[in-house]
């Protein structure tokens, strides 16, 4: 690992060349909005909320999957970025059926919080109102595709923390969706260990504990952190 120097928002910062731009910014206390990023699992750049401007590159790059490089000049706040973040959020809301008022995650939802923080007071696009079902076949957990933003956090924790590999993405484009095992009801997915990590990881109300009602669903991410710390640092810190 080599030490490098890059510039974020006119400030020179040191980093290691293995780090991502997001990682460096977070260490420096520079806020970059994220939705699909989750500490402890690898990044996929799915949500496009963390897009940043990099000098010399015409397109916007996701901070979570872009490696920091020597001499890189990064900007995390600009009119252009704010415009695209807001657009991304509005498209996420328009794509599925997000009804905050009756959602289990109301008040504890990262999508809802992000929209408010980014000043989204309405959606300028026509809502799609797609038809999606709920999967309530698992004895402890439920999955409501209407509220899913396809961040794939659940898939990543399932494969890379629990190692069960129950959750997957099927379909293409707007019909992409999360499935369990061989596209079968969650309750019949034999690989599922019912560990609940996917439920803890979900940023919205798409995955929830059965029996929780409006605004009751709170996530306990410390359990995920505990496992990741134990695995990577061999420290069992509760």
């Amino acid at each position: 690992m080599a030490a490098i120097t890059l510039t974020i928002n006119d400030k020179q910062v040191s980093a290691e060349d293995s780090q991502t731009v997001l990682n460096v910014a977070q260490e420096q206390g520079i806020p970059i909005p994220t939705l699909c990023h989750l500490e402890g699992v690898y990044d996929v750049g799915a949500c496009r909320l963390c897009l940043v401007e990099v000098a010399g590159v015409n397109k916007l790059l996701p901070a979570c999957t872009t490696k920091a490089a020597e001499g890189m000049v990064v900007r995390t706040e600009s009119e252009r970025l704010r415009k695209y973040r807001r657009m991304t959020l509005e498209l996420l809301f328009a794509e599925r059926n997000h009804v905050c008022a009756i959602c289990v995650a109301n008040g504890n939802c990262e999508l809802q919080t992000m929209a408010c923080n980014q000043g989204m007071d309405h959606v300028r696009y026509d809502y799609c109102f797609p038809k999606w079902d709920m999967d309530l076949t698992h004895e402890r957990f439920g999955m409501d595709h209407n509220r899913c933003i396809l961040c794939t956090r659940c898939v990543r924790v399932c494969w890379h923390i629990e190692g069960a590999g129950t959750k997957n993405v099927a379909g293409r484009g707007a019909r992409s969706h999360i499935i369990t095992d061989m596209f079968q009801p969650w309750g019949t997915a034999e690989s599922c260990t019912s560990c609940g990590k996917c439920v803890m990881a979900c940023p919205t109300g798409a995955l929830f504990e059965r029996g929780s009602t409006t605004a009751e669903m709170q996530r306990d991410r410390t359990k995920l952190e505990f496992i990741v710390t134990a695995r990577e640092k061999k420290q069992w810190i509760a």
Binding site: V99, C100, G107, C116, D121, Y127, F129
Partner: protein, 182 residues
Amino acid sequence: MDRLKVATIWFGGCSGCHMSFLDLDEFLIDLADKIEIVFSPVVDAKEYPENVDVCLIEGALCNEENLEWLHKIRKRTKAIVAFGDCAVTGNVPTMRNALGLNNDVNVLDRAYRECADHNAGIPNEAGIVPTLLKRVVPIQEAVHVDLFLPGCPPPADRIKSLLVQVLEGKSPVLEGADLKFG
């Protein structure tokens, strides 16, 4: 100075936003010196007047009558406020859209035929029961909306924050705790 002419109307919603408006409590008395409610479910006017300054619209667009009123209001009003989540996002009334994007027929089938124990049949009284729109949409999908006041319902303090800014002649900005859906 003339008082600000304010109207409120209730489309496809639960009236919770209007309840929240009434929750302004004693501020309503201060407000009475500064605004005149010219049309609202809480006053007796039958016809929507001309030259209204601000109209708070609660509810999503569900039927032809909502749409007619909305167009009339747009013509006669300077600033339209989408008042609450149903007006801003469609919210709960849009759950009808799960029955398909052209659900005006099958939603009635579901309610009055499939679920009926007695006298199955769709109510149809021309001029009395308004025709449903093909799907429920938020009001900004039909007309230009000037201000958005989200919340289900927007708490009284949030309504106050918006009205105070309007009365001070500012172009209102809601942020922090004043900007939240649900």
